[in-house]
Symmetry: C2
Subunit: 153 residues, 2 copies
Amino acid sequence: MEQKNTEELLKERLREKGLKVTHQRLLVLSVLEQNSGRHMTAEDIYELVSEDYPEIGLATVYRTLQLLWDMQLVDRLNLDDGCVRYEIGHLLRGDARHNHHHLICRSCHKVIPFDGDLLDDLERHIEESVGFHVLDHELKFYGLCRECMKMQK
Amino acid sequence: MEQKNTEELLKERLREKGLKVTHQRLLVLSVLEQNSGRHMTAEDIYELVSEDYPEIGLATVYRTLQLLWDMQLVDRLNLDDGCVRYEIGHLLRGDARHNHHHLICRSCHKVIPFDGDLLDDLERHIEESVGFHVLDHELKFYGLCRECMKMQK
DNA sequence: CTCCTTGCAAATTGTTTGCATACCT
DNA sequence: AGGTATGCAAACAATTTGCAAGGAG
């Protein structure tokens, strides 16, 4: 099952770098994997991990998320609500949701997911012309959702 | 000259809403217009406005930026360095720099500007399929810059 | 004259850090 | 054993807010 693979991958990467395999690290990644549809804050993750492992500290969650991000096992996104959000890394997601973006309504602050793969060509172009190796991207559109558009009148 | 138009536009919008035209508001917008190439933090703007108007407070700068953003006179961007950055709104910029994006190096944290207009089609598609009216966007690519790629080996 | 706006300082909030202890390997 | 990782609490930094005084219309 997926779970096992992700966990093994983390263990492997940790060992490669001489870092330690701890319950906390495994649990944080596991929670992200089990909530792959959500955009979770550090606090969200802290609360969920706490259910299984109440002695964990919030600082550890932050440190772990940083570590997992460095290793490209989690993705980071910023939805402009004052806190950074995390989700399982796109490299680990089986499905083709690499290219999922967000529409953010300026009026009601709703966040609408949106899928599209228009960026692949652009990434290739960047690699060639700038020599920058693209690992990930974040694309947000700001505007007015259908409901708020109606109310404008 | 450009300066005059932008200032007049702001005055007009303020009056429409029954808000007041103040030195502080005019100065904040003016500083952003005169530094249209930079990505400025609230603190940056505060320091520059202070040169002409030393009694201004930082809180006023924050309040003004929020107001100008609501009116679509300034753009906001987040370069993941812990603070929001501002620049003169793309609607006010004469040049075709609407579509300028950023490449962020995960290793040295350098930010490389990058221009491209691949998003216009996508925006039209979003309007039609989702009914979301796009006003602006933010696109960032994360990866490794040329220099850091070399050092990887 | 009225209400909007400001400056100041205090409050908030997400995130980071120092340090002694606990835990992998 | 030896260094890495953790939990806790204190420290930080960007941003927001309350309030009395000032200023635009």
